[in-house]
Structure formats: C-alpha cells, structure tokens
Amino acid sequence: MGSFAGGYAGQILYVDLSTGSLQKKDLERDFALKYIGGRGFSSRILWDELEPGIDPFSPANIVILAAGPLNGTPTPSASRLTVAAKSPLTGALGDANSGGYWAPELKYAGFDAIVVKGISPEPVYLWIEDGIAELRRAKHLWGLGIHTLGERLKEEIGDETIHICAIGPGGENRVRYACVLTDGESAGGRCGIGAVMGAKRLKAVVVRGSRDVGLADPERFKAALDSYRATIDGEAWTETLRRLGTPNLVAHRQTLGIWGAKNFQRGTIEGWEKISGEAFREKFLHKVMGCMGCLVRCRRYSIISEGPLAPTYTKGPEYDTINALGAKTYITDPAVILRAHYLCDEYGIDAQTAGSSIAMAMELYERGILKKDQVDGVDLAFGNGGALLHFIEGIAYRRGFGDLLAEGTKIMGERLNAGYYAIHVKGLEVDASDPRGYVTRALTYSVATRGSCHLRGFPYIDEFIKPEEAEAFFGTASVSRLEALEGKGKMVAWSEDWVTLADLAGVCKFAWYRSRSFPMLIKRGLELMNETLVAVTGLPFTADSLLRCGERVYNVEKLFNLREGFGRESDYPPQRFFQEETPDGPSKGAKLNRADYDRVLDDYYEARGWDKKTGQPTPGKLRDLGLA
C-alpha cells in the first residue's frame, strides 16, 4: 500500500513503448486527496503530461488505465475501470468506463494506474503480476478477435485466472471509435481509446494479482458495507435492473416517445415489443450477471440457440446496444441486435458509434445522398439487419464503405457534405435518448466533457425531486418542475460533481448513483460513499471535499478541452434538435428552443464559475480549486 493506510496500492506504472522502459512512481498523498482516483487521475495526468494539439495516433498521445481506491475492496460494485487518452474520434478529452473484474485485479497486482506513452516498434502486450511488469511480444496475437485472444493468452501464460484488457481488429485498424474490452465482455466503449492502443501497437494489458488491498478501518468499513447493503432491497431500481437489466429502459423510451430512432427522425418504434427487456429475457436470457462484488446484478448473459445466428454466447444486450444497433437503425429483430452486440465485442468497436454511423448512412441512402454503389452494393435501408452485420465487420476491417464508416459521423458528415445528419456533440454521437423535450437532458449531454454523454451528469433530478427538497437543496422549488428553467443550470452542475465521484472511487453508477428518491441519492452517493472512502483509505474526506474533487476534475477536463480549441459553441446539441420537431408519438412536437437552451447554458456556466462567452473557468474559480 506504500504510504497509504488502505485502498490505494500507492504506485503508478509508467510505460514508454518507444524505448521499452517501465518505471514505478509513487502515488502522492496530496494527489489522492485532490483527485481520489480513476478518472480523476487520468484527467489530471492527461492535462499535465499531454502536449496540446497532438495527433491522437502519434507517439505523443498517452493512454491511461486507472483504478480508484475502492477497486479491490469488498465495497459492493467497486468494479469499474477508467481508460483515457486524447480521443481520435473527437480530438477532445476521451475516456471510457468498463465494468467486470479487471480494475480490482490491477489493484491486487499492486498498481493504482498505468500510464502508457510512445509507440512500440512491434506489437506487444503488457504483463503485470504482483508488482512486476514486463512487455512481451504480441506479433503472434495481432489480428485475433477478442475471444480467441483471451484463450490464447490464458494458454500462453498458463493461467486461466488472469484478467485481460485488450483490443480487437478494430483497434488494430484504428477505427476511430475502437474500444477496449476487459475479459472479452466488458467494453470501455466510447471515444476510441482502443484505437490509440492500436496505434501504439499495444494489444493487451494482462494482470494477475494476489496482494491485499488494505482497509484503514476494517470495522468501520464493514459497518458501511452493511449500511449500503440495507439500501438495496428498498431501492426500486435494484429489482428492475436485476429482472431486465438496462434493457428495462426500452419500455420507458417507447412510453415517453423519446427514441432517437432512424437517426433521430422518430420518437417511437413500431414493433418495439420485440426488442424490449421482457422480450430479450424471455427469448435469450441464460442468467443475470454481476460485476465484481455487485449486489444488483444488472448484466445479462444471453444465448442464441436456434436460427441462423446460432450459436451465439454473449454478455448482453444492454439498453445502449439495443438503442444503437436497433433503434437508430430501426431493426427490431432481437437476434440480430444480440449478434451485432457480440460482433462489436469480438472486433472491439464501440456499438454506440457503430450503430450511429450506420444509421446516419441509412438516412443518407434513403435520401439519395449515398448511392448503392457507394455502399458496397448493399440496400442500406433502415431495418436491414443483414446490412448492419455486414458493415460492423466492414468497419472493423476498414473494408469498402466500412472505411468511411470507421471515421464516425462527424467526419462522415464533412466528407459527404452532410453534417446536418451527423448527430453528435464535439464528435461523440448522441446516445441514451432524444432530449428534444427535456432541456436539462440536452444540457447535460452537451456540456459533458468527453462529448455527448448521459453519464457525466444526472439530469433526471427534476423528474422526481419534491418541491421542498428542491427548495432546501438548490434554493428554489423551480428545480422540481420539469418544464421550468430556473435553477436547472445549477442543478446540472451539482449533479456532475456528484455523479463524477463514482468514476473517481471506481464504483458503478447503477449501484450507487441511481434512485428516484433524492434523499437516497444523497444517502448513497454522498454520505455512504464518504463513509466508505474514509473507512477504506483513512484519508480525511468529507462530503464537501468529495464534491470539490468532482468539481476539480470537471474543471481540469474543461481546461483540457478549451486548450484543444473546444469553446462555448461545442457545448450545444446538434442542430437537428433545434430545427425539427419529433414527428410522432407521446413526444410529438418536441423541439429544443434556442433561447431556452442559451439560458440554461448561461446559468450552468455561471453556476460553474466559468466565463459565459468562452466557458473558461475564471481565475477565482481556479484558485478555489487549487488549479491556478
């Protein structure tokens, strides 16, 4: 644990692939107190050590894999890993978050984070066991899909209990949104971190650890664990997530009519019942699964045992893959969606951007902007499942039209002079839902520091907070009214500081940062989180200092993006949301109002202490956070 009483391994591994050198650096106590871990470490290190304006595929880019202090402890759902780099998809800060079992194993192997620089002259993988790291040749592994790679590595190392963070052919071929996969099934999906690893010729990081992760105060920790456990049964999300997984959201989207179906041309889906959480459970669910230490168990393990796509064994689906590979492309064959999910894993590409890119191409095809001979002779109409499967492979290998699809929607829009149909913010495609009727969601997605992201903040507060709670906490009951604008900027800013703690500590947001009870959000996400962090690390965190850490990380990320040239104009949703009304369903007529959006963005900047014109944190704010 180095100089820490618990939680932290106390060491960061620095790897220079250009020279092959490996170096251990001590984790400083002050750094841990200010940034906690995980995304806090990766964002700050990228800010400090990355030159601005570099090509993300050059040796100058840095890939960071970072765990938090709770990874490796028996804290429920402390499973999550952050991987980060300058994104080749957006040119902004890039990071992805992956569940499973890898981040705990990194801690057992004696490290809090790995910082990788340079480019290896030959393909390599990084092997780490109990404090010892070495680079090993990986030429014979280059080209392998994720699942075969896992088998080969286990054979070669002679141990089935290793944990692997790897790229597939997508990363090797520098698909701009190639992902990393841990243990063949947990994606660190967005922003193309896998492509940066591919450019560095780093095929995998393999860990095995048998060291302790310490607990500063084991009895206090056990009490906190039991307090958390007592909240599980009373929280409605627990049962919903266990029963249906994230696909439970399919019904929600249909009920509110907020799908971004057909590349955000429709709010509802005909035949949506075929791809609902219930449908997937009934047809394909083998069992529910949980990441490390999870008491919720929202993951699915699915098997296609009949039909042309059998046999397929895969973790999944998730709501997000149903949305990207089904709703956006208007495909309602659940077996196709599941198979597409599996292939995105096998090839190592982000399902979100893959689905979005193909959906955009489908719209361009239907509008006659793309012709059949430009798209491999395929009838690239919405709903064509065969086309989806064809192009997922084409993307991974940059074959035919797949080569352009592999660039993502922003570049597709530029090359085809069709930027209006590229539905992204800062180059990262809009996921989650269509926010046209929900200005707080639109704000949250658009100011997120890695591009459009629903995980960076928690905008749903105004859907369930009680007026008296809103008054007490945010200073105005207006925050409890969905259609009101007052106080929403402040609410979104607070929600970002708060939810970011999950990424710093290494825990899952579904287990700790989800509820439709505002008091429960505070109890678990702030109070119990603080109690657990103090019991584990022995560091003097308080609820306030934790939120300051969240704020500090958010500001560092903003500084990074500003330095790369992303100003206020990059904090806006796509033009389509301002220009076109949702044409159908319960949200028919929904459209973002520009003046309203400007107002909440102004309020958000003000709440954050950022200059309204530029988004630049003011000198006073930077001094407050120790960033001046």
Partner: protein, 164 residues
Amino acid sequence: MSRKRVGYFANRQDPENICSRCRMCELICALHHHAVGNPRRARIQVILLGQGEDIPVTCLNCEEPPCLKMCPTGALYRPDPEGMVKVQKEVCIGCAMCVNACPVGAMTLDPVEGFAAKCDLCQGDPQCVLYCPAKVLKLTDAGQMAHHRMKGFAEFLRNSGEDK
C-alpha cells in the same frame, strides 16, 4: 448429525437463481478472515467454465479427509469430530501437500502468509451464504443435498405420469 458444508444450489429455470459471478462470496470470505480485499485469500472460489457457466466451489467437509491424512506435520487437525478440519498456522510448513490431496481443490495455500487455509464455516454462520445476492449458497449437508435431488426426480416422475 450430518457433516455441514457450504453447498451450491442453483435453480437453472430461474435466471436470477444461478451464480452470477459477482464473487461477493470470495470478497466477504477474505474480509472476514483477513480484514482485507483479496479474493485469492478466500476459501471459496468461483470457477468460470465459459459460455456463461460459473460455479462456486469450497470444502466438502469429508468424513475421511485426504488433507488431514496427508499432512506431514500435524498442522491439520479436527478438534470437533463433526466439524471442519482446521489449520494450526504455527505448525504448518506450507508444503502444500494438502492442497494436492484435496479432491475438489478446496484446500488453499494463502498467497500472502503462505500457510494452508480452508473453509471453517465462519464459526457456524458462513458469511458467503449470508452475502450471496443470488442466494445460491446454503449451509447444508448430504441429507439435504440428497433430498434436493430426489425432489427434482420426484417432480419429473409426477410430470411424466401426467403425460400419460
């Protein structure tokens, strides 16, 4: 009196009542015995068989334990004849012959301290059973396990009878 062990009871018809691979059993075991996070120090381990099959394995509490028979130093002993084999750490030399002898792999060599370590049922209140969110671990004995199997078969007989 039947010998107690922690047993795995999955209902394969219920996707929520099968081992979910959360490994909370491993985490809580190591927490209970060593006050740390380190699943490799757990005396129960989830074995991944692939294609969505995961099964937790721990000590069967044998009537004639091969581990006890094999131990060259007498470090392994069974103070309560109905209870589990236990380890005297001061005597154990870490030769791991017991590890080799156990037919199910439930005897471990603690990776941090180097001594033999095994399930001791946590003084009669096994923590893995308590914390498993899938509720697939139970403090059980051979009689209960046999009954469980017989019940499954009895249901099969009844269902076949209805088909006729």
